[in-house]
C-alpha cells in the first residue's frame, strides 16, 4: 500500500463542484478521450478490475525462474502466434505484451538508462538465456514495425499499436540482435537439449524476420541490369525463412504440445502498466494461420523484390505499380505493405533506392506521354534574352516542382488499403485539377508573351503538352476513383447504372484525349522531324528522336487499345442495365420512391468529388435521366459484350505482365458471364461478386411472356 496515495478527500472535494447534471471536464477532453475514459467498476471498461480475475500464478509470476527446454520452445511458438495476431488487427497489450517476458524486457529497457544489449536478462538458466535473445529479437522486430507503421501505415486501420508508451528497443542495433540470436543458436548447439533443431529453426526464423526490413534500404538498378549478387543475397534470406517456416509447419504436433510456464501469458500487462484502452482478452490466431501468414510475408516479398529487379522501363514500372501492387494490395500482408512503401520511395526521393529520383520519374512520365521534344520543355529552343529566359525558367521550375509533389502523392496511394486508396485519390483529384489550371495558365502565358509553345498540328491550335499530360493523369484518377467504389460496395442497385454511365463518359473523354491530342501531337512532331531530317546535317540525332517518339506512340497506342476494350465493356454494362430497366427487371425510380431526399440530391452527392472540376464538364442529373434508350434489344447487349470480349482478348495477346494478363482475363470472363446471365438467371435482380472486382455479377431473369 506504500506506493499508493490516498486521494479520497481531493476527489470528494472536486466532485462537490458538480451540480445540475453538468459535466465538469477539461476543454481538451473531447468525445474521443471520452470513449477511452475508464469507468470505475464497469468490467467492460475498467482495467483496474483485471487483477481480480488473474490466478495466483499470473499475479506472482517471476521471469527469472528457470525454464525447461519444452517451455522455451513452447514460449517461442506462442510468441510467433502472438506476433502475427498483433498484425491481425489486435493490439500489443492483447498479444505480444501479454507475455510477461516481453513486458519485462521492454519495460526494463524503457525505464533503464543503461541500454546496451548485454544488459538484458531473463534469468541464468541456459534456456532462460536463449529465451532472452529470442524476446530481444522479437521486441526489436516489433519496434521496427512500429516505426514502419508510424511512417507509412494508418494506425487503427492497417496496424493497431497501443505500445503503452514502451520503447521497443529503439537504440539497439539490428546487427547486435542478429549476433545475439546467433550466440543463442550456439548456446543451444552446445546444450543438452533433446530437440536442438526445433529450437534453432525458431531462432533462425526470428533472425530472418529481423532481416526483412533490410529491403527498404536495398538499391535497385532501375531500368538497368539487375544486381544479381544483391538479388541472390536477399533471396537467400527469404528462402531460408521459408525453409524454417516449412520445418515448423511440418512439426506442428511437436510445437503445439510444448509447455508454457504457468502464468507467463495473461491479461496482467493491461493492469500493470499505463493503459489508455479498454480491457480485452489475449488474442491468438492459432498455429496454422500464423505460419501461413508468415510464409505469405516471405513469398510475397520474394516476388516483389524479383519483379522490381527486372522493371525495364517506365511503362513496365507503371504496370508493376498498378497490377502487381495496387490491384493486389488486399492480398499483401501488412508487414509487406509497410516495407514496400518505404522500399518504393525513399527519404531522399529516390525510386526503389536507385539513382532515378522523383524528379526523373516526373519528367519521364511526361515525356512518355507527349512532352518529349517539345519547345516548352526545352529551354535551348527558346529564343529569349537572358532575363526572360530566367523568368520563364523559374516559372517552369515551380510548375515541375508542384508536379513532382503530385506524382509523389500518387505514389503514396499504391500500397495502401483499398479504402484509403479511394480517399487518397479523392484528395489527389484536387491536386491534379489545380495542377491543370496552373499548367494551362503557364503554357498560355508563355505562348502569348514569349511565343514559347507547340502547335498540335498544322493548325494554330496550341498543343499545351504539359497540361495535356496532367489532364490525362487526372482523368485516370477520376475513373479509378469511381471504379474502386464498385469494389468497396459503395453503390446500391438504384445508382449502379449512373456510375457505369459516368465511367463510360470519362473513358470516352480519356480515349478521345489520348487519340486526338496525345497521339496526334506526337505524330505531328514525328512528321516535323522527318521533314527536317531531309535538310539537316544532324540526321542521326533527329533519327533517334523520331525513333523515341515512335516508341512512345506505340506504348500510348497499346494503352489506348486497353482503354478501348475496357470502355466497350463499360458501355455494354450500361446497355445491359438499360435493357433490364426496359424489361422492368430493375426499376431505378421505384428503388428511391420512399427516400426523404431525392435521387437527384443523391446523384449530386455521389459525384461531389467532381463538382469543382471544370474539365471534363460534370454530367448533370438531367443528362443522366435522358440517357436511357427505350429500344435496347437483347441482341444489341450481347453483340456489344461480344465486341468488348474480342477487343480484350486481342489486347491480352500483347500483354506480358502476369498480373495484368490475369486482370484482362477476368474482364473477358465478365463478358462471358453477363452473356450467360442474360440468357437465363433468377427472377430477381441481384448484385453479387463477379470475376472482376470492378464488375459485379448482375443476376436477373426476364419475365416469361405467356
Amino acid at each position: 500500500m506504500n506506493d499508493y496515495v490516498d486521494i479520497t478527500e481531493d476527489f470528494f472535494s472536486s466532485i462537490s463542484q458538480i451540480s445540475n447534471n453538468r459535466v465538469v471536464k477539461s476543454p481538451f477532453f473531447d468525445l474521443l478521450e471520452g470513449t477511452r475514459a475508464i469507468e470505475i467498476n464497469n468490467p467492460r471498461l475498467d482495467t483496474g478490475l483485471i487483477p481480480n480475475e488473474l490466478s495466483a500464478a499470473e499475479l506472482n509470476f517471476e521471469c527469472s525462474k528457470p525454464i525447461s527446454e519444452s517451455e522455451l520452445s513452447g514460449l517461442m511458438n506462442k510468441l510467433f502466434k502472438l506476433l502475427m495476431s498483433w498484425f491481425s488487427s489486435s493490439s500489443l497489450p492483447l498479444t505480444v505484451l501479454s507475455c510477461r517476458y516481453v513486458e519485462d524486457i521492454v519495460h526494463g529497457y524503457t525505464m533503464s538508462l543503461d541500454r546496451g544489449i548485454e544488459t538484458f536478462s531473463l534469468g541464468d538458466g541456459v534456456y532462460n538465456r536463449v529465451l532472452k535473445s529470442f524476446v530481444v529479437g522479437l521486441s526489436k522486430f516489433i519496434g521496427i514495425m512500429i516505426t514502419v507503421g508510424n511512417t507509412v501505415l494508418y494506425e487503427d486501420e492497417d496496424i493497431t499499436t497501443r505500445n503503452m508508451e514502451l520503447d521497443f528497443l529503439t537504440d539497439i542495433m539490428v546487427d547486435d540482435v542478429l549476433n545475439d540470436l546467433e550466440s543463442a543458436i550456439g548456446l543451444v548447439k552446445r546444450s543438452a537439449a533433446q530437440h536442438k533443431e526445433h529450437i534453432i529453426k525458431q531462432l533462425m526464423l526470428l533472425q530472418d524476420l529481423n532481416s526483412l526490413p533490410i529491403l527498404s534500404n536495398l538499391q535497385i538498378n532501375l531500368f538497368g541490369v539487375p544486381d544479381l549478387r544483391q538479388l541472390q543475397s536477399f533471396q537467400d534470406i527469404l528462402n531460408r525463412g521459408i525453409e524454417c517456416l516449412k520445418f515448423i509447419a511440418d512439426h506442428k504436433q511437436f510445437y503445439e504440445t510444448q509447455e508454457l510456464p504457468v502464468g507467463s501469458v495473461s491479461k496482467w500487462v493491461q493492469a500493470s502498466l499505463g493503459n489508455r484502452h479498454i480491457p480485452g482478452d489475449v488474442y491468438d490466431i492459432g498455429f496454422d494461420e500464423t505460419f501461413k501468414q508468415m510464409t505469405n510475408v516471405f513469398e510475397q516479398l520474394k516476388q516483389i523484390f524479383r519483379k522490381t529487379n527486372y522493371i525495364k522501363d517506365i511503362e513496365a514500372l507503371d504496370l508493376f505499380l498498378k497490377y502487381d501492387i495496387q490491384h493486389m494490395v488486399n492480398e499483401y500482408h501488412v508487414i509487406n505493405k509497410g516495407i514496400f512503401q518505404l522500399f518504393l520511395i525513399r527519404e531522399d526521393q529516390s525510386i526503389l533506392g536507385s539513382v532515378y529520383h522523383l524528379s526523373d520519374l516526373t519528367l519521364d512520365l511526361m515525356n512518355h506521354v507527349n512532352v518529349f521534344n517539345c519547345n516548352v520543355s526545352n529551354p535551348k529552343t527558346w529564343n529569349l534574352n537572358n532575363a526572360d529566359t530566367e523568368l520563364v525558367m523559374d516559372a517552369l521550375s515551380q510548375l515541375l516542382k508542384d508536379l513532382e509533389a503530385g506524382v509523389y502523392q500518387n505514389l503514396t496511394v499504391y500500397a495502401n488499403n483499398r479504402c484509403r486508396q479511394r480517399q487518397l485519390i479523392n484528395k489527389n483529384l484536387l491536386v491534379w485539377d489545380s495542377l491543370q489550371v496552373q499548367s494551362e495558365n503557364f503554357e498560355m502565358e508563355i505562348y502569348n508573351n514569349y511565343k514559347i509553345g507547340d502547335k498540335l498540328s498544322d493548325t494554330d491550335e496550341n498543343a499545351l503538352p504539359i497540361s495535356s499530360f496532367i489532364y490525362s493523369t487526372k482523368l485516370e484518377l477520376m475513373i479509378e476513383f469511381l471504379l474502386i467504389g464498385i469494389e468497396l460496395e459503395l453503390y446500391r442497385e438504384f445508382e449502379i447504372y449512373s456510375i457505369y454511365w459516368y465511367i463510360n463518359y470519362l473513358t470516352k473523354v480519356y480515349i478521345n484525349h489520348s487519340t486526338e491530342r496525345l497521339l496526334k501531337f506526337n505524330k505531328y512532331k514525328i512528321s516535323k522531324i522527318v521533314a527536317k531530317k531531309k535538310k539537316s546535317k544532324n540526321k542521326q540525332e533527329l533519327e533517334q528522336k523520331r525513333e523515341k517518339l515512335t516508341k512512345i506512340n506505340e506504348a500510348l497506342q497499346h494503352k489506348i487499345d486497353y482503354w478501348k476494350g475496357f470502355q466497350r465493356l463499360i458501355n455494354s454494362v450500361c446497355l445491359l442495365l438499360n435493357y433490364l430497366q426496359n424489361q422492368k427487371m430493375i426499376k431505378f425510380d421505384d428503388l428511391t420512391a420512399n427516400f426523404i431526399t431525392s435521387f437527384e440530391s443523391l446523384f449530386r452527392l455521389r459525384f461531389k468529388p467532381f463538382e469543382s472540376i471544370g474539365v471534363p464538364s460534370q454530367l448533370t442529373f438531367a443528362q443522366y435521366s435522358s440517357s436511357f434508350a427505350s429500344d435496347v434489344s437483347q441482341d444489341e447487349v450481347i453483340n456489344s459484350l461480344n465486341m468488348a470480349k474480342e477487343a480484350l482478348v486481342e489486347y491480352n495477346k500483347s500483354v506480358t505482365n502476369d498480373n495484368e494478363k490475369q486482370w484482362i482475363s477476368s474482364l473477358v470472363k465478365t463478358c462471358f458471364s453477363y452473356i450467360l446471365e442474360l440468357k437465363g438467371g433468377k427472377n430477381v435482380f441481384e448484385v453479387s461478386p463477379g470475376y472482376n472486382t470492378y464488375f459485379p455479377k448482375f443476376t436477373a431473369k426476364l419475365p416469361v411472356i405467356e
Binding site: S89, D158, S601, L602
Partner: protein
C-alpha cells in the same frame, strides 16, 4: 428488463407521437431514471462498450436529439441518440450516434420512426446541411433501414470497429452545402447547441 435493472419509466415528458400502443418521447434531461435506462439498453445491445461519459456527452449536450420509445407498460423499448457539430467549419452535420431497439420489438417500424423524428428535429432546429452515421458493413438491418430513407454510402472505413469489421459512412444530404467540396465552402459560425 434485464439484470442491470428495470426499463420502466412513467415520466410523460416530451411526448411527440403515439403509434398504436407505442409512445415516442423526447429524453428528459432531468430524469436520472431515463439516463440509466438508456445507458443500460445501449450497453446490453451494442457491441462497442461506451463509458458513462459518452452517454453524458450526448444526452447532456443534445437532449433534444434523443428520443425514446415506450410500450403500453411504460417500458423503454427503443432509443436514438444523436448530436450535431460543425464539420470542418463549413457544414452543419447531424450525427446519429446510437440506435437500439429491444430485440422483441424489432421489425415494427420503431427504428425508422425514431430516425425520422431525429432527422426532422435536426432540420427544424439546427438547419443541418447533412446527417451522417457509421454502420458495420455486415449490419444488413441497419443498412436496409437507413438506405430505405435515402442515406447514401459515401465512404468505406477500413477496420473501423473493435470487431475489426469495416464500416460504411452514410450521409443523407439536406442542403446544397452537402453537394460542395469542403475546400469550396465558406466558413460557418459554430451552432448554438454545440
Amino acid at each position: 428488463m434485464d439484470s442491470s435493472g428495470s426499463f420502466k419509466d412513467t415520466d410523460d415528458y416530451g411526448l411527440v407521437a403515439t403509434v398504436g400502443n407505442l409512445r415516442y418521447q423526447r429524453f428528459n434531461p432531468a430524469s436520472q431514471n431515463q439516463f440509466r435506462i438508456i445507458s443500460n439498453l445501449i450497453a446490453d445491445h451494442l457491441s462497442e462498450p461506451y463509458s458513462i461519459y459518452v452517454y453524458w456527452y450526448f444526452l447532456n449536450t443534445w437532449p433534444q436529439y434523443c428520443y425514446i420509445t415506450k410500450d403500453s407498460a411504460d417500458t423503454v423499448v427503443g432509443v436514438i441518440i444523436s448530436k450535431i457539430n460543425l464539420h470542418r467549419n463549413v457544414r452543419t452535420r447531424g450525427y446519429i450516434g446510437m440506435l437500439v431497439i429491444d430485440p422483441i420489438y424489432r421489425k415494427k417500424g420503431i427504428a425508422k420512426k425514431l430516425v425520422q423524428l431525429t432527422i426532422d428535429a435536426m432540420i427544424e432546429a439546427d438547419h443541418v446541411d447533412e446527417i451522417s452515421l457509421e454502420t458495420e458493413v455486415i449490419n444488413k438491418g441497419a443498412l436496409r433501414l437507413y438506405e430505405s430513407l435515402g442515406f447514401m454510402r459515401v465512404k468505406r472505413l477500413y477496420k473501423y470497429y473493435l470487431s475489426t469489421h469495416d464500416a460504411f459512412r452514410l450521409i443523407l444530404p439536406v442542403s446544397d452545402r452537402a453537394f460542395k467540396r469542403i475546400a469550396f465552402l465558406d466558413q460557418l459560425p459554430e451552432p448554438v447547441s454545440t
